[in-house]
């Protein structure tokens, strides 16, 4: 009896000890799950390669730059242009813009933001040796003038409908005169507190920020989680509050989940690029055939777990103010027509070609596999080339491909954001190699130079038709790009269209816990 008693006691003691052990192990985990209410933890998809203010170093860099630096203009939650450092702006005539700066905007060195700082910034960006992303755009500023300390006038060489969008870009931060690129003096809602390269960046609230009541949190800690599955796991286990680039296969885990929510929009899109400098893709009939040959629903299903939509024509951004595409200029799936077009071009028996994508991004590889299968069906044998990303860029820039699968995004929700992707003066891995069309160039230039909305819509309708006929790229799909949020995060949501990727971080100063 007593022996039995001892046994049960010891088992109980063992259980207690085991329980204490588990509790001890659990402590750090739960400690990380219930973080300081003033610190927002954000999972980046990559560590920003560079925080150089005017250099375009990708989405992660844009996010961090937007936290610590601001430009003249920005966006509201609907993706509409609003003033940032400029409290208001007006086009005096088609080439003259006046910007009225906020009186309470001060730099981190305590000095107010003056018209002179804006002029200095624009001069730095457009300087001949500058590596700034907006150098070409701001080269069109003919002259600048400080009307008073807080009003600056920009005079352009010719009308440019894209100017306000450029000034709202994450690469257009206004810095204090005399700043260096390594130590920028800016006036964003946060200030850089500490960082370890490749690991994390911590920013803290700027008490002198010009917008009342923001930012709402004291600190944001941005940690790089390169592996998308780990990023998702970090949100699920409560290690972080916001993640970007939610993997498509994980979307269903947000259904009926009371601890996290999803905010996304259609924005980035995928296309087929052509090497038009040599046969057979120098022939528009062949490019049209590719447009008809592919069943786009399969790409949405295979590469994006259903989280996307087919793109049948001109990629006019969601959220654009203009209607450009019509059912008549759409590439619906029609293999018979594709074969007929190939026959008309003199390739009735098909041909062999190389299909360039990359193994670095699974979504591009998956898209390429589906496209290759559909090309096979109309007699085109596409040999897949899947180098890693850096080699892919070089191959694209040097035209070492016949066709390529590419995913891209414009910088703002206006059809003009497609200018760099379609105009023959721009020659990068994002453009079809060797493609040049006077018709498309002229329409892009007309659209950029026209400020009247009704006339612009007409121009972009013509552009959509030209895109359909000349096929500078074969449209494939829109993809959904989403942020995952802990349920208690409010005030932050994905901006519509192209802005979702490039500019959503501008809302982080409104993010708060409830």
């Amino acid at each position: 009896m007593s022996r039995l008693h001892a046994l049960t006691m010891s088992r109980r003691a063992f259980l207690a000890a085991a329980g204490a052990g588990i509790a001890a192990v659990q402590l750090p985990g739960s400690a990380s799950a219930q973080a300081d209410a003033g610190v927002l933890r954000y999972a980046l998809s990559a560590f920003p390669p560079s925080l150089s203010p005017w250099l375009n170093a990708g989405a992660a860099a844009s996010t961090v730059k937007t936290l610590i630096m601001r430009g003249l203009l920005g966006y509201d939650t609907e993706g509409q242009l609003i003033g940032e450092i400029a409290e208001s702006w007006a086009a005096v005539d088609p080439t003259t813009y006046d910007f009225k700066l906020r009186a309470n905007a001060v730099f981190s060195n305590g000095k107010p933001v003056r018209a002179q700082d804006v002029i200095w910034t624009v001069n730095q960006i457009s300087a001949p040796e500058s590596t700034a992303h907006l150098r070409t755009t701001l080269n069109q500023v003919e002259s600048m003038e400080a009307l008073d300390d807080h009003t600056v006038r920009l005079i352009l060489t010719k009308p440019n409908a894209a100017l306000p969008f450029a000034l709202a870009s994450p690469n257009a931060a206004i810095l204090a005169e005399g700043s260096t690129e390594d130590a920028p003096i800016a006036c964003g809602p946060f200030r850089l507190a500490q960082q370890e390269r490749g690991v994390f960046i911590e920013v803290e609230r700027n008490p002198d920020y010009y917008k009342n009541g923001s930012p709402q949190v004291d600190k944001i800690r941005l940690t790089a989680y390169a592996d998308e599955n780990l990023r998702m796991a970090a949100l699920e286990s409560g290690d972080v509050d916001i993640i970007e680039y939610v993997p498509w296969s994980a979307y269903s885990r947000f259904d009926n989940n009371d601890r996290m929510k999803l905010s996304g929009s259609l924005g980035p899109f995928h296309v087929v690029l052509f090497n038009t400098s040599k046969p057979p893709f120098d022939n528009p009939l062949v490019r049209q055939a590719i447009g008809y040959a592919i069943n786009r629903e399969d790409i949405v299903a295979a590469a994006f777990a259903g989280q996307g939509e087919p793109l049948y024509g001109f990629p006019n951004p969601p959220g654009s103010a203009y209607q450009a595409s019509t059912p008549e200029n759409s590439y619906t799936y029609d293999p018979e027509r594709a074969k007929a077009l190939l026959a008309e071009a003199g390739y009735a028996d098909g041909f062999n070609c190389t299909l360039l994508a990359t193994s670095t991004y699974g979504m591009l590889q998956d898209t390429a596999v589906v496209v290759a299968a559909y090309l096979q069906a109309i007699g085109i044998n596409a040999e897949l080339k899947l180098p890693e990303w850096a080699s892919r860029i070089t191959a694209g820039n040097e035209g070492q491909y016949d066709i390529a699968i590419h995913g891209t995004v414009g910088e703002y929700n206006d059809p003009d954001s497609l200018y760099p992707l379609l105009h023959s003066s721009v020659k990068t891995f994002q453009n079809s190699f060797g493609f040049a069309s006077e018709r498309i160039d002229t329409l892009l230039e007309k659209g950029r130079g026209e400020l009247d909305p009704a006339k612009r819509e007409e121009i972009y309708k013509q552009l959509a038709q030209a895109y359909f006929e000349e096929v500078p790229q074969a449209p494939l799909v829109w993809r959904v790009q989403s942020f995952g949020l802990a349920r208690n995060v409010e005030g932050f949501q994905c901006l519509p269209g192209f802005l979702g990727v490039t500019s959503t971080a501008i809302l982080l100063d409104q993010a708060r816990f409830v």
Binding site: I22, V25, Q26, P28, G29, S30, A31, S32, P49, S50, L51, N56, A57, G58, A59, E129, S130, T131, A132, H133, R135, T136, D182, E196, R197, G198, V199, T223, A224, Y225, A226, D227, N229, L230, A233, A234, E236, S237, D239, P387, W389, A390, S391, I393, T394, A395, N397, G407, T408, V409, G410, P420, V426, K427, T428, Q430, N431, F498, V501, T502
Partner: protein, 316 residues
Amino acid sequence: MLHSAISRLASALSMLFVVATLVFAIQVVIPGDPAELLLSSAGSTPTPENIAALRVEMGLDRPLLQQYVEFLWGAVRLDFGNSLIDNSSIGQTIATRLPRTLELIAVAMSIAVAVAVPFGTHAALRAGGRLDTAGSGVSALFAAVPVFVIGTLLILLFAQTLKLTPAGGYADFGSAPIQHLSNLVLPAITVAMSIFPIIFRMTRSSVLDSLSNEWVRTALAKGLPRRAVVRRHVLRNALGPVVTVIGLQLGILLGSTVLVEFVFNWPGLSGYLVTAVEQRDYPTVRAIILVVAAIFIFINLLIELLQMKLDPRVQL
């Protein structure tokens, strides 16, 4: 002795020179360009002038020979220069990150040895028994499943389902020791599981080998307890090859914790190397490879010199 030590040192240095030259050649051989790459994120269309200006800023426009000589001279002075991408000091980054990889390897190795050596010994003592079969099964399983699968499963179980540990990441030991350890547990176990089979099998076969010696039978025949024979004689003799394998694994792990560091977001050196390669950050890539190669060569040199010292029969 001194003479051969000096000649070993000279050959180690010449090996390092060869490695240095090879890693420099990467820049010439591998396609991709850091300036082009940095400016070519999705949606951006850098002008050729933009790229050219950045190349000048990075110093990539200088003649290759000049870059090579500067790199060698820098390496001799242990000055690896700055990263092409963000201008940070490479030496400093390595000094921050190398200890983390070493910590991960050390903890993982301790766990693996603590489990695999006793397990392997017992398996050998009862060869063909239940424990032996179980051990062989487990080690076959661990050897067959890739580390990133093991890692992902551990995250799913301990972080997402049981919520016992964070899913990944890193905290400084100085400021958050408990957090640091809870971040270390899963990656260390994952690495340990991947080296367990090697140590287990080596221990088992080595102990079996020793057991078949005639002096074991003699020792038992003269009445020594079996336990004492195993501990004092069999195990001591059997551990030689095991230690060699452990040493080899330590070197290999330096370069192969990449996947585990990636899966758990452990900011060590090998994960950093991958990022540097992806960004074509040539000076960083060169510096890391050179440092790892130097450690490897140095450990080998040390072992050889030690063997010479311990066993006069060893002539190098």
